[in-house]
């Protein structure tokens, strides 16, 4: 009799353990966590780590915290961390607008009309996030002297800065630097590569 009771208790415990283990890895909370992880992966593929590394780092950590608290069945804390992770992912993706590239014609520093909407959206994004400044980096291809290309890169950066200021971004939040021909995005051996090098890029500066 005693033996049977022990067997029954062990069997019940085994079933409860199996059912329990199954239950804690599924359900609405896990669905929400998995959805946030999927969003994070998508944002990573869009270049969030390179463009907005602070939001990326916080989202990455918050997702880990959320998962830990969910496994510990601390649902309020899980929700808190998941909300923070989602907020950082959304903010990081939104700030990707600050990492666009503006291309220029050979030996020119006038902004092509096609880029005005891009700069308008950049300005709008900057105005919504006061925690970041932007460094505007002017680049050129390798045709011409190094000194001339430094000058041209600066003129390109200045032209972009002026446009952003017109769109009401405070001048104090924008800095410029010319890299001339020293940091090509592509090889200068072909015209296609040189076209990609005549550009302005942006770097987010965290305060």
């Amino acid at each position: 009799m005693k033996g049977r009771i022990i067997v029954a208790v062990v069997a019940f415990a085994a079933v409860a353990l199996l059912v329990g283990c199954g239950a804690v890895t599924s359900g609405p909370s896990y669905d929400a966590l998995n959805a946030a992880k999927a969003d994070f992966e998508k944002a990573t593929a869009l270049g969030m780590k390179q463009c907005t590394p602070v939001e990326y780092a916080i989202a990455e950590a918050e997702l880990e915290f959320a998962e830990h608290h969910l496994n510990e069945l601390k649902i309020d804390r899980f929700r808190e961390h998941l909300a923070k992770a989602n907020e950082m992912i959304a903010e990081g993706v939104d700030k990707l607008k600050l990492c666009k590239v503006i291309y220029f014609d050979f030996d020119k520093y006038a902004i092509k009309p096609v880029y005005y909407p891009v700069l308008y959206h950049m300005a709008d994004t900057m105005l919504r996030y006061s925690d970041v400044n932007v460094e505007i980096q002017g680049h050129t291809c390798d045709i011409g002297t190094e000194k001339y290309n430094c000058w041209l890169g600066q003129k390109r950066a200045d032209a972009v800065k002026e446009t952003l200021v017109i769109y009401e971004v405070p001048e104090s939040r924008l800095s410029t630097v010319s890299w001339g021909e020293y940091m090509p995005a592509e090889s200068n051996a072909t015209e296609a590569g040189r076209m990609k090098n005549r550009r302005v890029e942006f770097d987010i500066i965290y305060k």
């Binding site: 590394p53 602070v54 780092a57 916080i58 918050e62 830990h68 601390k74 000194k147 600066q154 020293y182």
Partner: protein, 104 residues
Amino acid sequence: MRKVLIGILVVAFAATMFGCCFMDAKRAIADAQAAVDQTKAKGTITCAPYETASATAYLGGAKEVWGDKDWCKALEWANKSKKMGDAALAAPPCAVSPCLSMMD
């Protein structure tokens, strides 16, 4: 006699596990805090933003689970924070454009 011995071993094992995480986590959090303070003092957020932000986030996480008496998780996250903080402090300075000297 045998049961007593097993009991002592189990208690000793549990105490060792608990004790190791507790003591190590306490020290790791202090180390991570020092590293994070240094990143703030040196302004590493500009040139090593990912590492700096990660160090700060994991330190926060470690402190939170320390409050829950989850010593081993606190140790894990404090170590992560310290590693990231050290990486931020060891990062090379921001690149400087050669144009800056050329255009003077």
